[in-house]
Symmetry: C2
Subunit: 251 residues, 2 copies
DNA sequence: TTACATTGCGTCAAAATAACACACATACCC
DNA sequence: GGGTATGTGTGTTATTTTGACGCAATGTAA
């Protein structure tokens, strides 16, 4: 991807980039999709540039799709980052040398980039991490064990998680993070993981079912070393409705 | 301002702009500060460009300060707009002709601009609308009577108001919109105006005082044709604390 | 068959919310 | 000065939501 851009700067909007915080849920962990490039020793968020003839939202969809093969997924813009020094020293000598970019073309990269942050919620099992090139490493990493990231990507990730936590009170979450059939305890674990706190089982059940977005199935989870929990699906229609109208009214 | 930029494109980040939705409160109306430029017949949000050596947040502060003379005010980034065609046709012939901009320099303007939206809450009486030049018109306009705006500025304004409404449940509002001393009914009017719905007087009082950000003064408002309402101030310290920690916890 | 872990359902007190009643203060009218 | 209109301060009550638990039921593993 970077190579294509280097060959054709003029097809991309200068000074603007997209960064995606892609969340997945697995093993009771909230995971983030991260990339390690060959030309440096740090991890980064999957990102991209904005083609001149594409909306920024579309460019974000492209990034997500390139990396996970997924479409039609929950993807939301949450903030834009534009400190002067944010990509100072980056796309510096190491990167430019690696790609053998001449100094003149390099200026395109060394200018300050304003990056637009998006976060996505995807089904861990359906989203298959996809390398941009053979030298790249792309991996799901537990959000609690995120290594050092380039630039201000840690800040971006933190802000994404913070936004997600707040939006948990305004919208239902789960449809995009869980498999089609799931149990209430699984859904609760998801909430607990995102919020990083324990919730009461019984109160959670009551609150979540009261929203009216769950369909209880005539089916139980098997192969569990205890009472088999019931399986549920989301009522897509009601889910979308609640997503649109919001949960808490407050005032 | 535009002229300065035209003379010195290279001092500003290409393709990025700032737009501010500046809210004030007066006569029980939520007002928005709008600008009418001489070279076109529509109104627009106050905005500006981003100096190469300035953070985007700083650039937003500059816009706000230029237009209201105010500093240290509530100013928050809420969304970034970057549809391909958003400034299509704008900064078009009319504008370029007006400023006698040569075609080559004009390209700087006719490219797609990604604009970062900020909204501000300011004290209507302290914020004095300030023209950018003598031909400009700048005015407080009731948000319910906003005329046709350029580009996607209406969309930006709507999104700002929508964000404000949601954030009303997460944070206290009023410190930046009301004079130092105010009455509970005035504060309630502010909430009602923002939310565009009636609230119960007595329940509002209970809820707002329970937050613990108000100081009741030993003073009453005078010159009212009814029982004189008590005056209050915000407890700045507690207010800031609640602003930081948020109101509703939800889950 | 029993022990164990975890689920499903229910209870109860406390807190928050919604709906409403009444007394009070000030200006204005007559 | 008495009555009226308007809008304020305070209180009451029923309802709903929340938080903190108890306990029986269920499936696996020993």
């Amino acid at each position: 991807m970077l190579k294509g851009i280097i060959l054709n700067n003029e097809n991309y909007q200068a000074g603007i980039s997209i960064d995606c915080v892609i969340f997945g849920f697995h093993d009771n962990q909230l995971k983030v999709l991260l990339i390690k490039t060959p030309y440096e020793n740090k991890w980064s968020l999957p990102g991209g540039f904005v083609p001149i003839h594409e909306d920024i939202d579309t460019a974000a969809v492209t990034v997500l799709n390139e990396r996970t093969g997924m479409q039609g997924i929950f993807l939301r813009q949450f903030a834009t980052f534009g400190r002067v020094k944010r990509n100072d020293r980056h796309f510096g000598k190491a990167v430019l040398d690696h790609f053998k970019i001449p100094e003149e073309a390099g200026k395109w990269f060394t200018q300050r980039f304003v990056t637009i942050g998006y976060y996505a919620l995807v089904d861990f099992l359906k989203a298959v991490p996809h390398k941009g090139n053979t030298q790249e490493i792309i991996e799901w990493i537990d959000h609690k064990e995120v290594p050092e990231l380039i630039l201000d990507h840690k800040e971006i990730l933190d802000k994404a998680l913070h936004t997600l936590r707040i939006e948990l009170n305004l919208m239902p979450v789960g449809y995009n993070l869980l498999p089609e059939k799931f149990t209430i305890p699984e859904l609760q674990k998801l909430y607990e993981t995102i919020l990083d706190k324990k919730l009461d089982r019984r109160n959670f059940l009551r609150k979540i079912t009261n929203i009216g977005i769950l369909n209880k199935l005539d089916e139980k989870k098997s192969n569990v070393a205890h009472k088999a929990p019931n399986l549920y699906t989301f009522d897509k229609e009601k889910y979308e409705e609640v997503l649109k109208n919001g949960l808490n009214q407050g005032w």
